[in-house]
Subunit: 339 residues, 2 copies
């Protein structure tokens, strides 16, 4: 049995989406035991009339909710009775609980996880690793994408190792192709950080480093892992999502400008629905925080039940594959290089 926590508040569709996702995950996976954190009365109401295995579902009462404009450090210090902080504290204190999923405030989750959970031995900086679908039908993980705005070459090397193991473990990618986000493909491109990171990545024999990647090639399907500082990684991921979304919106608007176009679109209805699903992050789960001592998965704030279910599945796969132990072992081989 794998025991995971689900923070049921703080997302756009709370608590319906987290509760719904939890129930779907329980139904799909008999080896799962879930603990929902949040206001007990509200959660009981959300569960009313639902069919599920009550022996594998517990409610942990946590009456407070975190607002999206609250300062992360204040949340960690003062909101100990919030659904998120309660989950983090339980994750820290209970040996048999191995991971948590939250769709709440990213800042509070990162700060809380870093301060309260600690890191896998040897990991200098935990990092976020969201994934995006590529045009060849695969997936690409981007690490870091926002947990660390300032990094060193050693940090980037660790991101590469962690994300590589993650893509292999959770998505079955064999010897993932790892690239460094840079302003050009040539080895000598970029600032000192990129040049030194390039050298370090080349020396790291437990990963398959394939060189620099220009951001325009992210979705090409030529890469499985892209390593970046948290600032430019964040820009990379959000620009991709934003551009896709804006283009689909524009297409829709333009279609409605003409009856003929609407007729054409009617014939292509299934295709457009498929494109929309393809670009829908809800289908790909959440961003995992790689490098914390226990598994933390951050779902998008607007996650619906199916997205939360995916996040739970990710956490389960990470735990089952002993990802933390594998990361610890891989990183130990290079530890003498790190600051």
């Amino acid at each position: 049995m794998t025991k995971l926590l689900v923070d049921c508040f703080g997302g756009d569709h709370s608590p319906q989406a987290p509760v719904g996702g939890a129930l779907r995950a329980l139904a799909a996976n008999p080896e799962l035991h879930l603990l929902l954190t949040g206001d007990e009365a509200t959660l009981k109401k959300a569960l009313e009339g639902q069919v599920y295995d009550a022996a594998r579902l517990d409610i942990i009462h946590a009456p407070e909710v975190i607002g999206c404009d609250e300062k992360p450090t204040d949340v960690v210090r003062l909101k100990r009775n919030s659904s998120m902080m309660k989950a983090i504290m339980l994750l820290r204190d209970e040996d048999d609980i191995t991971g948590m999923v939250s769709t709440g405030s990213t800042g509070a989750l990162v700060t809380g996880a870093l301060v309260r959970l600690g890191r896998i031995p040897g990991v200098i900086r935990p990092a976020f690793c969201p994934i995006l679908p590529t045009m060849s039908g695969g997936l690409v993980g981007i690490c870091d994408s926002g947990a660390n705005v300032e990094v060193t070459p050693s940090h980037l090397r660790q991101f590469a190792i962690m994300a590589s193991l993650y893509m292999e473990q959770v998505y079955g990618v064999e010897t993932p192709r790892v690239a460094l986000l840079n302003v050009g493909k040539e080895a000598e491109k970029g600032d000192d950080l990129r040049k030194e990171a390039y050298r370090l990545l080349q020396e790291t024999d437990c990963i398959r480093f394939v060189g620099n990647m220009e951001s325009r090639d992210l979705l090409s399907g030529s890469y499985d892992v892209v390593v970046a500082d948290g600032f430019s990684g964040n820009v990379l991921v959000k620009t991709t999502e934003g551009t896709a979304l804006e283009l689909l919106k524009k297409l829709k608007k333009d279609i409605f400008s003409s009856m003929i176009y609407q007729l054409g679109a009617l014939l292509m209805k299934r295709m457009f629905a498929e494109e929309k699903e393809f670009m829908n992050y809800q289908n790909y789960g959440g961003s995992v925080l790689l490098g914390t001592s226990k598994v933390v998965v951050k779902g998008h704030g607007s996650s619906k039940a199916v997205a939360v279910e995916k996040c739970i599945e990710q956490a389960w796969k990470m735990e089952r594959g002993h990802l933390s132990e594998r990361i610890e072992k891989a990183i130990a081989r290079y530890e003498h290089f790190e600051e």
Copy 2:
């Protein structure tokens, strides 16, 4: 009469595209005098049979061409007879020539321009400013997008001032809305660079600073100028172009997977053609290098004649609006703050 140089080699469609663009610009604008640099025999051949005002077109013989994998510093030192370096040297030496357009190597152009042309008095670092179309039908300029991978808050302030004047001058945007690229909208987001830049931009009363921008909002139409360090600005622009291109490619591929879809697409043919034109950077001209003592416009390597014509038009508008003088004057007001 405005005298501009057109580097006719080094692009993907050289010399046809630069020559074609030059002829179009000459025909459209009777106040333009163009000097084409490149191999004289080849250029004469490209001009054969064309109708144009020969009094406003000169050929400057430059037999060497720069390869795209040559080191910029080597080019500047050793390739003095290349079409690009010849243009840069003429631009430096001839007072009556006010600008140049090139579709050749970006690295060589930036290095050559910085080393040989020098800067507008007061400007610490010239910066690239490409533009992208927004979903509301406007344009957004991104500065810097690759000339400076490492910057300070003062640099970012200067980028803001230069790009703001540029968008106003060349595209008629009234008091452009300037945003700082960051990982979140709140003032306290990002690293020390962003926090200090935010403060500086807020104090800069000659621009209209509207706060931080998250990269997913680039195309929303809410911003006219986005200020960024060259690394993340480069990621921002190239990710947008890459995502749009990959999505259009996917759409096309998916359409061809079914007869019904093809029929639908036939009805939407004009719309798809318009979307493609909308995303086609050829329609929006080149990236200008802001802050050099004379006007430098970099066209995309794959520019066709119409794109080169746009680049020439940009250079003309910058010169006619005395952009350099306006930048010098605006920056002088804050000069005592700069390092």
